[in-house]
């Protein structure tokens, strides 16, 4: 059983995105994984195996609840039913961390099941900040907001992504989730320097780091177009960017995300070990 005080925050060690097929591996030997992240929406049924597994795991590991369906960047109001489900989940799991995305996915009555982009303007800033304040009020917890992977620029954008995220955090008191793979993907796609992005990021606001794999494609002009796919290993340039990140910020809870073509446990454990070795160097 996990000591209650250890549940209250994620340790600055590797975690993984939990997949049910790894339940028995995790119970046998989770090393070097010290915490687990779940996608909130997969645990919003009434019962059965998913909730039974989560109850069991939450007694043994710090849990991060990561929402993918709230549509914080949506033009419309937040879905009150969904907010209530999130609150219910967070109340019984009592996670060490709760996070969501800077994106939209709901339009009217439709849920589009992707993290869609938004322009960075005063109007979207105000809307996102209002929605985050509402989420934090409703769920009764501080949330972390994740930087997105983006493939397009909005001509109406008139502020930088870091400026936008920092101002949202200032207005709402939320923290940030820094996805280093998303930084690499977005900066490549925007043809900007990912190291410059990391150097300018407000690391004191970061409660968690994500690492994951991406796919490579090209746009109409033959320019590199990286796609955040979560279906492969973290590539070497992203590991290097990660090492650079925590050399600046100090060790942070670091998640390996692998959501598609999910491999056997040893492959994930190897990825987590690689993160552990980089974290160890910073601590040493």
């Amino acid at each position: 059983m996990l000591d209650q005080s250890a549940k209250r925050q994620l340790p600055p060690r590797p975690g993984i995105g939990y997949k049910p097929q790894h339940f028995s591996n995790i119970l046998q030997d989770a090393e070097p994984v010290k915490w687990l992240e779940i996608h909130a929406e997969n645990y919003m049924g009434d019962g059965g195996r998913p909730l039974a597994q989560l109850r069991y795991l939450a007694e043994r590991f710090p849990i991060s609840v990561h929402g993918v369906g709230l549509s914080i960047g949506g033009e419309g109001p937040l879905n009150r039913d969904h907010l209530a489900r999130l609150k219910h989940l967070c109340d019984w799991v009592d996670p060490a961390s709760f996070s969501e995305h800077l994106a939209w996915s709901t339009h009217g009555a439709e849920f589009l099941n992707d993290l869609l982009p938004l322009p960075y303007t005063d109007a979207t800033l105000e809307r996102v900040a209002d929605h985050i304040a509402e989420v934090q009020d409703h769920v009764g917890r501080r949330m972390l907001l994740e930087n997105p992977s983006v493939y397009v620029n909005f001509t109406e954008t008139n502020m930088g992504e870091i400026e936008f995220l920092t101002e949202v955090a200032r207005r709402t008191g939320c923290g940030l989730l820094l996805d280093v793979n998303n930084v690499f993907v977005s900066c490549t796609n925007r043809q900007t320097d990912p190291y410059d992005y990391i150097d300018r990021f407000p690391h004191q606001l970061v409660g968690e780091i994500h690492l994951g794999g991406h796919d490579e494609d090209t746009d109409d002009m033959g320019a590199p177009l990286l796609i955040d796919a979560h279906g492969s290993e973290v590539v070497d340039p992203v590991w290097q960017l990660y090492a650079h990140t925590i050399a600046i910020s100090g060790p942070k809870p670091t998640l390996i995300e692998w959501d598609n073509d999910v491999p056997d446990w040893p492959v994930l454990a190897d990825e987590a070990s690689r993160a552990a070795r980089i974290l160890d160097k910073v601590i040493a």
């Binding site: 059965g48 339009h107 849920f111 099941n113 493939y151 177009l225 796609i227």
Partner: protein, 247 residues
């Protein structure tokens, strides 16, 4: 640019990428916008693939993928919970011209949806066979059993259990188009479909609506009550036996 414009282009590949989106040099977004289109199509197709393994086998992977594309454009999800996506599939199949010769498909889709609902349904503790056997016949007849929240009943004029079983368990394919009623029960965490004895479905349907055993027996034709109660007990589907109004 409004999200309405973005959404309209997202689900309609005939439309160009919305104006207001650009590449780093300010040129039209083109293929960059297609990444979002592809993400939506692939992720929703995957949700449908997971929900309907038997439909997939019956129509073939290639056809299923093409059909899923039509389905997701006509019926995008209305909830962030992918465990609910696909509820419109039975009606879609009823009206989708290319599968009109496969009359059993909509009921197979209903069966697969019911299995998924059962998987996520609330947990409950069942009563033992001994507890039921301890009741006098009169008490049993007057009682109102509570059935597990994970229980589902699917009635069909097609041999849906045999079709499901042939595709998921490798049993023999049905030789004739007999009607089959199916009870889905979840003793622990894995829902399993069972073919009901002929005539038992109205009885179970009545119990699910809160009828007393004696009332439920009036709901339909004669059937094998012993086998039906045996199935309910074996699958741990009875969670309480509430004393009825004694007369």
């Amino acid at each position: 640019m409004s999200q309405t414009e973005f959404r309209a282009a997202l689900l309609n590949p005939e439309r160009p990428a919305p104006a207001g989106l650009a590449d780093p040099q300010g040129r039209p977004a083109g293929r960059r916008f297609d990444v979002y289109r592809n993400n939506v199509t692939v992720s929703l197709t995957e949700a449908l693939r997971q929900a309907f393994p038997v439909i997939r086998k019956l129509v073939g992977e290639e056809f299923f993928t093409a059909m899923a594309r039509e389905h997701l454009r006509a019926h995008p999800p209305t909830s962030p919970l992918m465990m609910h996506y696909g509820r419109d599939m039975p009606e879609f199949l009823e009206n989708f011209p290319p599968v009109q010769h496969l009359g059993y498909l909509p009921d197979i889709a209903r069966l697969e949806l019911a299995l998924r609902e059962s998987y996520h349904a609330a947990d409950a503790t069942s009563v033992s066979a001994e507890a039921l056997q301890a009741l006098s016949p009169d008490t049993l007849m007057a009682s109102r059993p509570t059935l597990a929240p994970s229980l589902r009943l699917i009635r069909s004029r097609w041999p849906i259990h045999a079709i499901w079983s042939a595709n998921m368990r490798g049993t023999e394919a049905p030789k004739s188009a007999v009607a089959e009623d199916v009870l889905i029960a979840r003793p622990d965490y894995d829902p399993e479909p069972h073919r009901l004895p002929d005539g038992a479905a109205p009885f179970i349907a009545a119990l699910m609506q809160g009828a007393a055993v004696a009332e439920a027996l009036e709901a339909g034709p004669e059937f094998d009550l012993t086998a039906t109660l045996g199935l309910l007990l074996a699958t741990r589907a009875i969670t309480a036996v509430n004393p009825g109004d004694q007369t």
